[in-house]
């Protein structure tokens, strides 16, 4: 039962990820990525990370991808212009290299032997995450705010014409 759900979400994720690459229009790629994110949340739920699954949808699908879709729509992008690029040979390098790396990773994983499954009782609740985040990871949390601040300023400077 639960394995079937894993395969469902995994197939959704891989299919959506491949679709991101295959689509010519970047809006379809972005929408496909939203499907990937939702299936990712499904996988998080299978891993007992309820809180993170929901947060993933709120932040990634609900905010970051909205930003992408907005930019795509307000630039009114044409179809992908793949024609006149001089770096096309990268594709022929990239695919074999990627497959080789995939082979390496898979070989390593399967050599590592079948490990124990994921644990049933997991502290993935909001309380557990909050406790860890606001005590053990206090410094990263505060630095995060600075990162957001800088990103915001940079984005405003780049995007706004009359400054």
């Amino acid at each position: 039962m639960i394995e079937a759900l894993f395969f469902l979400f995994a197939a959704m994720a891989v299919g959506a990820a491949i679709n991101v690459l295959v689509q010519k229009h970047v809006l379809y790629s972005a929408l496909s990525l939203i499907v990937l994110l939702v299936s990712m949340s499904g996988l998080f739920i299978l891993l007992n990370a309820d809180f993170l699954a929901v947060i993933n949808v709120i932040v990634y699908a609900g905010a970051i991808m909205v930003l992408f879709v907005f930019v795509i729509m307000l630039l009114n992008l044409p179809e992908d212009e793949d024609g006149a690029d001089r770096m096309r040979w990268l594709k022929f390098l990239g695919i074999p290299m990627g497959l080789f790396l995939l082979f390496m990773i898979l070989a390593t994983l399967w050599n590592a032997g079948a490990d124990a499954g994921v644990q049933a009782q997991m502290p993935g609740s909001p309380e557990a995450i909050g406790r860890s985040l606001f005590t053990d990871y206090l410094l990263p949390f505060e630095v995060t705010s600075l990162l957001i601040l800088i990103a915001l300023m940079g984005a405003v400077v780049f995007a706004k014409k009359e400054l």
Binding site: L31, D50, V54, I58, V66
Partner: protein
């Protein structure tokens, strides 16, 4: 697998699910009638009263009409996205009801992140609007969808931030526990509802929810005089009906959350025999929701529409700072107590 499907818990779950789903569908159908009737009475006209007594069969007639309408897809529209957009609107809107507790016994499922699930599916409903407007290949829908999505994300922020104060008091994200934390009375007669502790948060929540559901003072997306009917101008028949359904679903969902967070959910006096004790909480809950829905309908027929720049200014420069200040003051008070 078979064992699981014939399990008593599973069958109970399916029963609850069917009750919730059926109840919602009935509520949506009659909400459309109630809205038109009430607005008609406010404007001193009878409203739809021909189909059945008091027009009670009107929703059925509407449904049949929607079903038999001609199928139209404007030239140049993206076939799949045009078709998918209403679905993307409706499915998240309805999904939030799977976690809302309508009573101690009537809840599809209890999650420890239930409140965030509602917000998560709410944040997905932007796509239904954006995609619908974009896929129609028409100017008004596109403008309306950009406006409306910008409005929705602006007010979603205030909506999300306004509940943090309540969470600080309840210390949980589970809707059932939030309701249970409001049981009982203060001084013997004041119910322990969060509205008395978080009045500012409640006001922010209600205003933001109005904007979030595109209801009248903030229905910039479908301002009929300027944008014909907003992002669903090119939608007709069943596709339009699905958009309407999503709108009503959002309206009821925000009313449910307001009831749960600020008005004690299903809490209320309980008396009588066993079956009444079982049913009364759901009745209280439905009554509280009805008050909110009635309030929204009245507001639609009394308040004029705001301008877009006023809307954005109000959302970003007033609602957001007040929501943040509310969080800080609440946290200070909680820390000191």
């Amino acid at each position: 697998m078979i064992d699981y499907l014939t399990n008593r818990d599973f069958l109970l779950m399916v029963l609850r699910l069917v009750i919730v789903f059926g109840g919602l569908m009935g509520a949506f159908a009659y909400l459309s009638l109630v809205e038109r009737r009430v607005m008609a009475f406010v404007q001193m006209r009878p409203g739809p009263n021909r189909v059945g007594p008091f027009g009670l069969l009107q929703p059925i007639a509407d449904g049949l009409k929607f079903l038999f309408k001609e199928q139209i897809r404007p030239t140049g529209a993206n076939a799949w996205l045009y078709l998918a957009a209403p679905l993307i609107s409706l499915v998240p809107a309805l999904l939030s009801f799977s976690v809302i507790p309508f009573g101690p016994a009537l809840q599809v499922t209890d999650l420890n992140v239930a409140l965030l699930v509602v917000f998560a599916v709410g944040s997905l409903s932007v796509y239904g609007i954006v995609i619908g407007g974009w896929a129609s290949n028409s100017k008004y829908p596109l403008i309306a969808s950009m406006r409306s999505s910008a409005q929705m994300i602006s007010y979603e922020l205030s909506l999300t931030l306004s509940v943090v104060g309540v969470l600080m008091i309840g210390n949980t994200l589970s809707l059932v526990k939030l309701v249970q934390s409001q049981e009982g009375l203060w001084l013997g007669f004041i119910p322990r509802w969060n509205i008395f502790l978080q009045p500012v948060a409640f006001v922010i929540y209600i205003i933001a929810a109005t904007a979030e559901t595109n209801r009248l003072p903030f229905d910039l997306a479908e301002s009929e005089q300027e944008l014909v009917s907003g992002w669903h101008t090119e939608y007709s028949g069943m596709k339009f009906a699905i958009y309407m359904l999503a709108e009503y679903a959002n309206l009821i969902a925000v009313s449910c959350i307001a009831t749960i967070l600020f008005f004690g959910g299903w809490n209320g006096p309980s008396f009588g025999p066993d079956w009444m004790v079982m049913i009364l909480p759901t009745i209280w809950f439905v009554m509280k929701i009805s008050v909110f829905v009635f309030f929204y309908v009245l507001m639609r027929s009394t308040v004029p529409r705001v301008r877009y720049d006023q809307l954005m200014r109000f959302g970003w420069k007033l609602m957001l700072p007040v929501a943040l200040a509310n969080i800080l003051i609440t946290s200070l008070l909680v820390a000191l107590s």
